[in-house]
């Protein structure tokens, strides 16, 4: 598998670390209920298909990336920097 880093270009997947689902947003500090926190920490979708997920280009430019990958085929539809992902509609 190769990931086309928006900064560096296409690189082997071993340059990156997988950090999981990009969707969960941390509940707001001390106001969050225990249930909301438990959801945030433990609950993940497990889709057969398109998945937006975080990858870290640790052996390259040290950027956090949001990769849209098909979990059935590993086909990558999009790779965004965090800044691009934040500028777009939150997932």
């Amino acid at each position: 598998m190769r990931i086309a880093c928006p900064h560096c270009g296409p690189r082997d997947v071993q340059e990156f670390s997988y950090l999981g689902d990009a969707k969960p947003q941390r509940p707001d500090g001390m106001d969050a209920t225990e249930a909301a926190m438990a959801d945030y920490v433990h609950q993940r979708d497990n889709p057969a298909g398109s998945h937006r997920e975080l990858w870290y280009h640790g052996a390259g430019c040290h950027a956090w990336l949001v990769v849209t990958r098909d979990t059935r085929t590993h086909a990558i539809a999009a790779v965004e920097t965090m800044a691009q992902a934040r500028a777009g509609a939150p997932a």
Partner: protein, 205 residues
């Protein structure tokens, strides 16, 4: 205090690791120049600081800050892109680099790296073949032209690699590794280049 200080001796990043000489099964396909005495600083700027940092460097060094993976050089300095909003300033001599950076206060997070990195220059007809044994980045001249840089890993060692002006034997690569990894990097380079013949020299450029 001074008594203790006198037992410490400054030494180059490659000293005790590799000395000038020939490491060869046969031939002399790879030239290695151990770069000593470079002045190196890392610069990190926020998106707001970046244009001001660019102007300051432009007026001091006459170099424009690369916004993508490239390296730009003058006779005395090189600016290398090192990630989004990050650069390395490499000066031919370490003497002036602190002065170069003094003018950047408030425009970037600046850290001197002259003692923190080890740099060598790789050239020769078999330089690219040697790098291909450990580098996953495509170094074909079409994919990696003069002035391009890559942050990648070679033999699990993080490297900053860039291509400077061609020499008599074609492509010339500059390779920078963390100083603590210099020994491991040399052990990979020596093993990989041995079949082509490595000629190691030391010097400024």
């Amino acid at each position: 205090m001074g008594e203790i200080g006198t037992t410490w001796t400054a030494r180059g990043a490659w000293s005790g690791i590799v000395a000038p000489g020939v490491f060869s099964a046969s031939g002399a396909g790879v030239n290695v120049q151990l770069r000593e005495g470079l002045g190196i600083a890392s610069l990190i700027a926020s998106r707001e600081q970046e244009p001001m940092l660019g102007r300051a460097l432009e007026s001091r060094l006459g170099l424009s800050l690369p916004t993508g993976p490239s390296a730009v050089s003058s006779a005395s300095h090189t600016l290398v892109w090192a990630g989004a909003g990050q650069w390395l300033l490499v000066a031919a001599s370490r003497a002036g680099v602190a002065e170069d950076c003094a003018g950047l206060a408030g425009l970037a997070a600046v850290a001197l790296q002259s003692d923190g990195r080890a740099v060598l220059t790789l050239s020769g007809t078999m330089a690219r073949k040697t790098l291909a044994k450990g580098c996953m980045v495509d170094l074909h001249p079409r994919a990696f032209p003069v002035g391009m840089t890559a942050l990648t890993s070679i033999a699990y060692i993080g490297v900053q690699l860039w291509r400077s002006e061609d020499g008599p034997d074609g492509a010339v690569y500059q390779i920078m590794v963390p100083r603590s990894m210099a020994g491991s990097f040399w052990s990979w380079l020596c093993a990989s280049g041995m079949e082509f013949g490595l000629v190691v020299a030391t010097g400024q450029d």
